[in-house]
Symmetry: C2
Subunit: 351 residues, 2 copies
DNA sequence: CCTAATATGCTCGTTGCGAGCATAAACTAA
DNA sequence: TTAGTTTATGCTCGCAACGAGCATATTAGG
């Protein structure tokens, strides 16, 4: 439009603020928040770093560590994240990856209109479990406290058959015409697929889908905060895991899901392990994250065959039986294979 | 701090703006931009919708459609995206998913300091190719014009051996001490792994890694815009694909990568297909996206065996030979399997 | 020395998949 | 019309990956 008048224009940036029709774009300003799901495995328990504050309107106390992103201070999002995580908790993050950006208004507000506009960018970080003394803030807490139905290490969690299945099925039956039009997949089908009802296989990666389904059905405590109709309709709502403030449980669900999927095609388990470990310890860590479905001998074949580890030469005694060889991560595997990981296949746990 | 003084506080939101230590958070405001990589397949060519503007300082004209996100107008990011995509291009998006959020300052500016603070959230949308008449803005352009080294449909692209391999190898040799300290993986190894030199397999999903490597080596035109040293050092830089403005080529690379990976475990190819199609057409579409590595008979076995399609009963004549049965997508497969997709395995194309 | 517990090595049968052979049903050029 | 070409479709063979179980090794504890 006024392009010719503006003299020698600054190259790309001005354009970056215009539409393809060369209309200037009105960027309404919002704040950027970074949320970190910092995950470790301590004593065969997958844990996330949470900070406890005061209870909110639904009694939730826990939040994930978060901080603002200030583009003036930090060149990159990840840089900003590492900086305030260090300040707040004393941790130096190793592996970190971006998860998802949430901006849904009303998700964390009773009064959507009055909501300040904050976009939150979720990050997943994997680290070795450092003792509580190393932390200046926050505590490690098992992620299965927030998602008890995800813990299949002692078989199918009872909570599914006892609390979830009957309620989701009754919720599916009173399918409103609105929700029928909403999507092509009916409520009952979504429930079947997510939670493995009626012989459907359990997919350990569908952590987020399961939580969102419970949320929609008003079975997650967070739904009551938003004042969802579905939440009001339950006369007695079972306690399905610990709630978190804001939408942090959703971010944690995304983090678990990503961890479970990534562990299979990238050697990220080793971010969670000490430098030396036995194969059984490694297996227990994988199972803590994924659920148990590998038989010991085959796990060994898998991991050794893929060249993911090498023996250190030492052994670990006092294991209660024959001493176990100690291994370390073979970093060179990154140079050899395009997608190394603990390629455990889909569990046949259909039940 | 002043929590007690503030009377009955609004529940979660106020807290959302505080650190765990209950310090109020200073959110510096930034603009949110949404970038859409809208992908289709037209005449067996994977295409993206691009808008052409005037050349920037490096002569790049093309951008991906983008628009601002205004939280006052739209509840969700995806809602905002669909709205302005419709306004700008006339397209109604079907499938859309979030890709990545970029906020790297200096990535799209000569003067990082003067850069306005815009965070851009990239989206991938898959759609059926609609003729140019259906578009009010933008053109479809083969994504291989921007990434010629990604097109393996006629074998290994010559550009790799002729232009990329020698230059990346010479770049790897003058590895600065700085870059050695930077990461554990040496330049030469990264190049080998990304581009499949020296017998390493080609991984079609590493689209972004390859582009970033070329960018770092100063071989992507965009690197010159930023004034990278590496870019200046080439006396003659080969033309490695069309550049785009801002960091849009990076977003497109992310989109290609995601498309290539997703097609394998979710039935997203069908978003790109007409309602009825022959198996050969389906195969050609998959190959357009991934590169060719499936033999016709096995592809049929794979797709039919997975229950992804069902015959319509009709046939398509004038194919030049025996008429081909027409198929349609079997939507019920979504209700049956946890992760249906065209499970083509890693191509053995090591060359 | 015997038993329990864990670590480790090996085999066997099934399955998924790459690759090729063979047949069916159209079109095309003499 | 007929032979040759082209594309579609069905089937089989062999290898490699993997789930599952058997067998052996090496410690601790009584």
């Amino acid at each position: 439009m006024n392009m010719e008048l503006s003299g020698r224009r600054k190259p790309s940036l001005e354009k970056f603020q215009r539409t393809p029709d060369n209309e200037p774009i009105e960027h309404s300003s919002v704040g950027i928040g970074l949320n970190a799901a910092i995950v470790a495995v301590a004593d065969n328990e997958p844990v996330a770093l949470v900070v406890r504050g005061e209870a909110d309107s639904i009694g939730a106390t826990d939040i994930l560590p978060f901080g603002p992103f200030n583009p003036r201070e930090h060149r990159t999002l990840e840089g900003g994240l590492r900086a305030w995580v260090h300040d707040q908790t004393g941790l130096d993050l190793g592996y970190a990856e971006q998860l998802y950006t949430f901006a849904d208004r009303g998700r964390h507000a009773e009064h959507a209109e009055a909501a300040p506009h904050v976009v939150s960018i979720g990050y997943l970080a994997l680290t070795q479990a450092v003792g509580h003394h190393g932390l200046t803030n926050g505590v490690w807490r098992s992620w299965y406290q927030y998602f008890p139905w995800e813990d299949w290490r002692r078989g199918r969690p009872e909570i599914i058959a006892r609390d979830i299945e009957p309620r989701l099925k009754s919720w599916a039956e009173k399918s409103s015409p609105q929700s029928v039009a909403q999507g092509p997949i009916a409520r009952a089908d979504r429930a079947r697929i997510c939670f493995g009802f009626d012989g459907m296989p359990w997919d350990e990666e569908k952590v987020l889908e399961r939580f969102e389904l419970l949320y929609e059905a008003g079975l997650a405590d967070e739904a009551a905060r938003e004042g969802r109709n579905a939440a009001r309709e339950w006369t007695e709502r079972p306690k399905l895991g610990l709630a978190m403030q804001s939408d942090h449980r959703r971010i944690l669900a995304t983090a678990i899901s990503r961890t479970r999927s990534k562990i299979k095609y990238r050697p990220v388990v080793f971010e969670l392990m000490p430098d030396e470990f036995t194969l059984y310890e490694l297996q227990k860590t994988v199972e803590a994250i994924l659920g148990p479905h590998l038989h010991k001998q085959n796990f060994r074949r898998l991991v050794e065959g893929a060249g993911l580890v090498e023996p250190t030469g030492d052994v670990k005694t006092r294991t209660g039986g024959r001493p176990a060889k100690l291994f370390r991560f073979r970093r060179e595997v990154l140079l050899e294979r395009p997608a190394p990981g603990v390629r455990v296949s889909a569990p046949p746990s259909r039940l």
